[in-house]
Amino acid sequence: MPPLLQYTLHLADDALILGHRNSEWTGHGPILEQDIAISNIALDLIGQARNFYQYAAELANEGNSGSVTEDSLAYLRDGWDFRNILLVEQTNGDWAKTILRQFFFSAHQVDLYQQLMTGSDKTLSAIGAKAYKEVVYHLRWSSEWVIRLGDGTEESHTRMKKALDELWKFTGELYMPAPYEQWAAKAGVGPDLSHLRVRWEERVKEVFVEAGLSYPPAEWMQTGGKEGRHTEQLGYILAEMQFLQRAYPGCNW
């Protein structure tokens, strides 16, 4: 598979899986207003995923019969075909864990999309430009919640710390480049992740200081998602997300 296609799928899968996770809150948010907020973010992410999948389908169909669609990419690939990072597939847990997962990811995505905008691939750069504004808001929203909970009551602080314990080991993968990301950086399509990492650490430290959370020391990190080796969580997501298309192929409503 050409690296541009792999790279595009990776961007799409990250957005789709986190969007799906967030959508699980719809109707279950801690308060009506936040239920709407997290659902809006879910919709933004799934919208981004659609744009990337449409482009990926175009790339996949070049020079063949053209049977790949955005839907077949989302609904008919198996777990090992998905290239999302492990962080985004982790369970929602409580509000603190959902918030922290979003914060870690948005703090990455905001610079990633900004760099995509100036990249050499016209389509990816256009998607990045459109999505960048959405992500700026996601980062702002999730940063404030991290601060609010971290610097809140004893219970909210404890929950935030627990979320940090659970999620930190999945953050290293953000900046361990897969071969297609190395290709993208070389080809000028995407950013050099080692540069982005510096910005991410700054963003996270800044918010953690305000939130009264200590920035964890370097430790062993979980990896594999970018190349299709996932935690068990992805299987449950796909089972729910893909059931309908697999049981009733081509159905719509």
């Binding site: 801690p30 308060i31 009506l32 207003e33 907020a37 809006n40 702002r140 609010r148 219970e155």
Partner: protein
């Protein structure tokens, strides 16, 4: 019962906020509704998510509902009826040029 449920039932409600949105530059902020939030910052963000999803606004004001003082409906007769027979108070005798909008 889990601690999560206990804390949820014992939780104090967040205060109520009145939301005002300006739909375009040059127009007034209009009252659009109310929502709950822990503080002003969160009220603005909640308003953004609840009331501006379909591009309804360019500016948001929030006021905690307890700071709104309202007239008493029982006073309606003395408050408003005396104005009803004083048409000369209305600037209805002018022709407005078409170029003037939002009057």
């Amino acid at each position: 019962m889990s601690s999560e449920n206990q804390s949820a039932s014992g939780r104090a409600e967040w205060p109520l906020w009145e939301i005002f949105i300006r739909s375009k530059q040059g127009l007034d902020h209009k009252h659009v509704g109310s929502l709950h939030a822990a503080d002003a910052q969160m009220a603005i963000e909640n308003a953004r998510d609840v009331y501006t999803r379909r591009m309804e606004g360019v500016s948001i004001w929030v006021v905690e509902s307890k700071y709104i003082h309202a007239s008493n409906p029982d006073d309606a007769a003395s408050f408003y009826d005396p104005a009803s027979d004083k048409v000369y108070r209305h600037p209805t005798f002018y022709d407005l040029p078409d170029e003037l909008k939002h009057m």
